[in-house]
Structure formats: structure tokens, C-alpha cells
């Protein structure tokens, strides 16, 4: 076994998580290789001594005394006012109102004008055409005005 391979599985070896065959192979390598033997012993040294440094273990009563605080705070959080309680109904109401206005609001009716060539209804009132006449060319504005004046006469 090569040292690099030993390093790859040394941790599994220390934890006893390898097959018996592999363990034999590793033990043999440790006997033969001083460098790997040192590595193995040093790792064991560090791990075993680290375990001696333990944190205090506190009594159950200590934690039980703290438990009520957690439950109280947790319950306050769970039953807190959530803006979503107000937001969702408000959204539904707004949406409904918009739909109502869109669907049921009476459409603006313009006076019926019979055009010279057809029976189509004008889409815009005379006032609106005059109002928007700046946005169309003079030629177009002239044609529209001719239509209107022809029909109203």
C-alpha cells in the first residue's frame, strides 16, 4: 500500500469503518512505514485529547426554566397580525370593482351620423375630431372636416 492511499483512508481506519482485509493491509503498512505510523498516532492523539475538552453539561431544570420563554415568544409570533389578512380581501375587492366598471359601465354613445357612402357610425364625436386634428396631417383633417360638414348640411 502506498502512503497516499493510506492517507485517503486513514480516517475510515481510525473510525473502524473499513473491511477486515483493508484493516490488515493498513496495519501492515503502519508497521513498515514510519511516516504513516507517526501520522496515525498523531491523529489519534489529537482526537482523543480533544474529546477530553468538553463543554459543561447543564441540568435539565436549567433548560426547562428557559423553555417557557421560547413557547411564549413563539406563540406571540404565531398569533401576530399578518398584513396578508387585510391585503388579500382588499385585493379581491379592488379587482371586483375594476371588473364591474369595465363590464357594466355604460359605453359612451356618440350621435349617429350617416356618412355619405355608408351607414357606419362615427367612432369619434365632432368635438373630439377637432380636438385631435393637430395630430393628423392637414390633408387628412380636411377630408374629415369635409365629411362632417357635408353630412351636417
Amino acid at each position: 500500500m502506498k502512503c497516499k492511499r493510506f492517507e485517503e483512508i486513514i480516517l475510515d481506519f481510525i473510525e473502524g469503518k473499513i473491511s477486515e482485509e483493508k484493516k490488515r493491509e493498513l496495519r501492515k503498512h503502519i508497521e513498515e512505514c514510519e511516516k504513516c505510523r507517526k501520522l496515525y498516532n498523531d491523529f489519534l492523539f489529537i482526537i482523543n485529547n480533544s474529546k477530553k475538552i468538553e463543554s459543561p453539561i447543564l441540568e435539565e431544570n436549567f433548560w426547562k426554566a428557559k423553555l417557557n420563554f421560547i413557547i411564549e415568544k413563539g406563540e406571540n409570533y404565531i398569533h401576530r397580525f399578518k398584513p396578508a389578512y387585510l391585503g388579500i380581501p382588499l385585493f379581491i375587492l379592488t379587482f371586483t370593482l375594476v371588473l364591474l366598471f369595465k363590464i357594466y359601465l355604460p359605453a359612451k354613445k356618440y350621435p349617429y351620423v350617416e356618412l355619405a357612402d355608408s351607414n357606419y357610425e362615427l367612432l369619434f364625436s365632432e368635438d373630439e375630431i377637432i380636438k385631435y386634428v393637430d395630430y393628423i396631417s392637414d390633408e387628412e383633417a380636411g377630408k374629415i372636416m369635409e365629411f362632417i360638414l357635408k353630412e351636417t348640411n
Binding site: 482526537i47 485529547n49 459543561p56 447543564l58 441540568e59 423553555l67 404565531i78
Partner: protein, 176 residues
Amino acid sequence: MMKGRENFEDCYIKYANKIYGVAYKMLNNHDDAVDIVQEVFLRAYKNWNNFKGLSKISTYLYRIAVNLSYDYLRRKSKTKKIENLNYENLSILSSKNNFESDFHNENILNEIKNEIDNLTEKQKSVFILKTYEGLTYEEIARILKKRIGTVKATYFQTLQKIRENLKRKGVIENEM
């Protein structure tokens, strides 16, 4: 009242000391460690009804504890603080922190403790969860959301780092 409150209380009593142990080793401070325990379980309480058994409760608790410990470490200045715990004021069930009277051993343990304190957040969390909590690499990988190979490599590198530093200090003999 939250449903399953009895289960929460049982879980709290079962894991409080474990979470405390992890936080204490990360932060080396009793008060901070207790704060971490409280915060971990408060978060667990708020989400208790959402646990669908997809992962173990312990995985969740350890993960929150490690993340909160990282936050504490980043916020506080990294002054080395050897805490003088007044054990009379703590309700300690067992004071396993009684080093052997042998001065040489006490020195070794102090040096190792210093080395652990000086590890990076990532190294410290892997080392603590592996050495003290005895978790498998798979469990640690789930807690830290890392690959198993990464966790294993980190643990190996951490042991190497501690080893090299202890050799430099003469705590471990150098190779001939």
C-alpha cells in the same frame, strides 16, 4: 396553542445540551451559547408544524446552531477569550471539564483547545460535529449543505493543521 407542543418540549429537553455543546465550542462563551440555543429552538417552534419529516429534526437544529454561531463569530471581535466559568453559578450536571491534575496533560489540552479556537469557521464546525457530536460525514454534509467528500477532506485538513501547529510548538514530536 401549537399542535405537537409535547413533541417540541421533548425535543428541546433532548437536544438543548447538544446544541449548547456545539455553540459553546464554536464561541467559547457560555452566555452566547445559551442565546444560540434559545434562538435555535425559537426558530424551530415557529416552524414546528411545517416539519414534514423530510429531514431529521437534529439536522435542522445543528444547521441553525452552526449558522448562528458563524454570525456571532463574524459580529464579535476575534479576541481570544479564555472564559473563567464560575461553576458555582451554573447548574452543571457534570463538570467534565476537570482536566487531569497532571500539569503536562493540562498543557497539552490547553494547546489543543487554542488550536481548535483558531480554526476557520468551516474547519471548526466540521471538527466539532465530527469529534464531539460523533456525527457521520453524511450527516455533517446535510447540516452544512456540502458534499460528503468536501466534509471528509476538511476534517483531514483540519487534523493536519492542528498536527503541524502542535509540532511547531513541541507538543507533538517532529519526525526524525
